[in-house]
């Protein structure tokens, strides 16, 4: 079995402009921020981003890397409105497919199951249908005859996720309260890159945790990156909570200044800059 360990920069070297990228986590929770930072250091642009949006979307939007966004919301949780996303939207910076949270999940499920769509009782009657004229409906062939949104598969060229632990083979483990949808993102993607707080031996994964915590299975993972603090400044329970002070600085610092201070060097430099300023 192959060792899939790699680095953030190698992961990004395998991505290219114009791709559809799914980003795991939720809002400002367990986002693969080290991978996003590596993406920001690269020239990769013109992206379609599929995300339960948080600062991943905000940063990529601020840096002008998004051509199209697929999302039900973008939030920093403790700061409800993502300022960089907001500014980008208000200047009409990219195309948006705004869909409901459940439609989003059904779209990933459809992709993971290689189905063209899944029926979902959400969206009908709302302006989600108006702002997404490409969405179609489907009528039940059974006696109920109900009409649903036929949520199209959200197939991804690549997925980026961050988990608490992984082995070298690509088995990923979450240890916090919620898996979010990281397994679905990986299953919906042609290739999936998983960063983790710590790479451990396979046997170590279940030494102190139940097998149910093994969220992501290796057959859907292309590369594994050890990235301690790799979700910073989002939360990564139980390893660490959200860095609220840093998130506030992110939200209130003009983007060029923030990028110059924290994103001009490598991940080590990011960490020491963040440490110095805390």
């Amino acid at each position: 079995m192959s060792d899939k360990t790699t680095t953030t920069d190698e992961v990004v070297a395998g991505l290219h402009s114009g791709m559809t990228l799914g980003i795991g986590g939720w809002g400002s929770r367990r986002k693969p921020m080290a991978l996003v930072r590596a993406l920001l250091r690269s020239d990769v642009t013109d992206l379609t981003i599929v995300s339960y949006g948080g600062p991943d979307v905000g940063m990529l939007a601020a840096a002008g890397r998004i051509r199209k966004l697929v999302a039900p919301f973008v939030t920093l949780d403790s700061i409800p409105l993502e300022p960089h996303y907001r500014a980008a939207r208000e200047r009409g910076a990219f195309e948006l497919m705004e869909i409901d949270e459940a439609m989003f999940m059904w779209g990933l499920r459809a992709a993971a199951n290689r189905l063209p769509f899944l029926p979902v009782r959400a969206g009908i009657g709302s302006d989600v249908m108006r702002v997404n004229p490409g969405l179609r409906t489907v009528t039940s062939p059974y006696d109920d005859g109900e009409t649903f949104v036929a949520m199209p598969a959200l197939r991804l060229d690549a997925a980026l996720v961050h988990v608490n632990r992984a082995d070298r083979l690509g088995n990923g483990q979450y240890l916090g309260p919620d898996p979010y949808f990281d397994d679905l993102f990986c299953e919906a993607a042609d290739s999936a890159y998983m960063s983790c707080e710590r790479i451990v031996d396979t046997a170590e994964l279940t030494k102190d945790a139940a097998a149910q915590t093994l969220l992501v299975k290796r057959h859907v993972v292309t590369g594994v990156v050890e990235a301690p603090n790799g979700a910073h400044f989002t939360s990564c329970a139980p390893d660490y909570g959200r860095d609220e002070a840093f998130q506030k600085r992110y939200a209130t610092t003009p983007w060029p200044q923030f990028a110059a201070r924290y994103l001009s060097g490598d991940e080590q430099e990011y960490r020491s800059a963040a440490r110095e300023d805390s």
Binding site: A71, E90, E98, D100, V120, A122, G123, G125, S126
Partner: protein
């Protein structure tokens, strides 16, 4: 003296009366206090979460796991009554939390539709509005996130039981499902509500005041559920 915030708590709590063994999903401070009050008094079978992935009893004991993916199943299964916020709400209960202005190029980008479409088509959805004003109670919302009665068609599980604001309680129990005033919080006048609402409200001849909390309810709010008086931050005196 019962404060305005405490009448709001009572009015929110009443949303879950008779709900049975369902998940109460309050969004916002006062709905959260209200849901816990209902759970501790007249609606003991309610399920409540810690705001993340754990279903907890009032003393904090975990009694279940509810990560987002299962939460979405609970929504579509219908055994839930959510009380959402609204940046805009109109006469037929259409709600907007997505953006203000033209969606293509919004004047103010807000949260996004979130789960409002799936909520409103699947389980009872009420609303909580801490500052009742013409900017919120609009003639027409800029983006329909939560589906109102004039957009719901024959959606079989669509229901908006109530809207609670800092001024009163409202529902849609009229022939055409237009918003109706149900009760005024003590100290609020009908004119005040009319002035703060952009559309014509249906107003019955006799509008009762929002009911008084019982002594036990006041004790629970003040001593057990919200001793720090966080409710006063959402609705002032």
């Amino acid at each position: 003296m019962t404060t305005r915030a405490e009448y709001c708590v009572i009015a929110c709590a009443e949303a879950w009366r008779g709900g049975g063994e369902i998940l109460a999903s309050p969004m916002g401070l006062i709905p959260s206090v209200g849901a816990r009050l209902a759970r501790l008094t007249f609606a003991p079978d309610l399920l409540l979460t810690d705001g993340e992935a754990t279903i907890v009893r009032p003393d904090g004991t975990a009694e279940g796991w509810l990560p987002y993916r299962q939460h979405l199943t609970l929504v579509t299964g219908g055994r839930r009554h959510v009380m959402m916020g609204a940046s805009q709400i109109d006469r037929y209960g259409n709600q907007n939390i997505s953006c203000i202005g033209d969606w293509e190029r919004p004047k103010r980008q807000l949260l996004g539709v979130r789960g409002a479409p799936v909520n409103t088509l699947n389980n009872p959805t009420s609303y909580w509005i801490p500052r009742h004003s013409r900017r919120v109670f609009v003639e027409k919302v800029d983006m329909v996130c939560g589906v109102g009665y004039d957009h719901a068609g024959d959606a079989r599980y669509h229901r908006i039981p109530r809207v609670v604001s800092d001024l009163g309680v409202f529902d849609f129990a009229t022939p055409d499902h237009a918003m109706r005033l149900v009760s005024l919080h003590p100290g609020v006048t009908l004119d005040q509500v009319r002035e703060a609402t952009s559309f014509d409200l249906t107003v019955p001849d006799d509008v009762p005041p929002t009911r008084e909390p019982t002594a036990e309810e006041l004790r629970l709010i003040r001593e057990v559920i919200d001793p720090e008086n966080t409710r006063a931050r959402e609705v002032g005196a």
